[in-house]
Amino acid sequence: MVATLPTGLQPAKSGTVAILLTWFLPGAGHIYLGRIAFGLTALVLLSGLYALGLFLSEGMTFEFLDPELRSPFATLLTPEAGNLSALFYQMKHYGFGAGPREWPEFIRVGSYLCALSGIGNACLAADAACAARATGSALVLTRPKLSPALQTFAAWAVPGLGHWLQGRKLRAVLVAGLLLGLFLLGCVLAEYSNLSRLRHFYYWGGQFLVGLPAAAMEYAQRDMRITHTIRWEDAGLLFGSVAGLLNVLAMLDVYAWAEATAFGDNPLTPRGESAKAKDKARSTAPSGVAGAGPSGGGGART
């Protein structure tokens, strides 16, 4: 089942501007593209998610960070940085806290919701890029019922799920096996001590990118106490974080495939060749026609 992308005879808009606007304020990129209702809904949802996270954590998430690592730019390496305006708000109003206090009861949930808002906004920026590419085109372009951004979000939520939804089942199984295997091996090596944001602030950010399996594992080990030296803890942290970072590569693969499919490009074209072919097609295409790819440029498919 397919749905029509919001294209037509709108003037061409910049994908870069749409991405940057979305990064700074959820939904702003879509408002720039003329999709005002969608943009405002996204703004309310993602900012609301962050606000709920702040409420539950009482804005104390960044107090997990060791004092010697705190700086104005230290939080830019967290998942929350995906929602820049909310991150700025948190830094301005809560910062690194006034001093040692008791952690709120739901600080882990609150911390997770803020991070989730960041990754959600990154996927929203991908959607804005896709929508911007569709502007300025007189062609009717199509996409699967699940948008490229949602497929990418699914790839984050469960490694391999994005590929599975695209019908790339062999790849889905391989990606899931490799990434979840690597993450589990990391947990075993670190004896599950790797899952706490309080103990390992930045490594937690890397492991957050493994998606819901990491969240489930963290929840299962929430009451863990460390009573001895863990021999392979560093290796475990490294494995868990590498699994998360490699999942970003898998997410990019899912997005590239979804976007190519939506715009009528051949998704099987190797990535380097695809970019060169697109550049060549752009340089030879009549002005004002965007999305004219090498394989027919998104000829009417409904």
């Binding site: 790849r171 295997g181 690597l182 290796a235 494995f239 590569l249 990019l252 998704p267 190797p270």
Partner: protein, 67 residues
């Protein structure tokens, strides 16, 4: 198993994941990606071995950890 052997085994595992995911990214076609995987893995390991060799050489020439 000695610590060195365990470290090497862990390295081989993480290297496989790194090479596999990067291969899947550059090559969207599954069968071509799987064919490329072996040579790319070997190439990655050889480059890493080369870097280890250089590091050991530098250590031998310029550092005296026992002195």
């Amino acid at each position: 198993m000695s610590e060195l052997a365990t470290s090497i085994a862990l390295f081989l595992v993480v290297a496989l994941a790194i090479v596999a995911l990067s291969t899947f990214y550059v090559e969207p076609d599954d069968s071509r990606a799987l064919r490329m995987l072996g040579p790319r893995y070997l190439k990655f390991l050889l480059w890493c071995a080369g870097i280890v060799g250089v590091m050991l050489l530098v250590q031998k020439l310029f550092l005296d950890l026992n002195g």
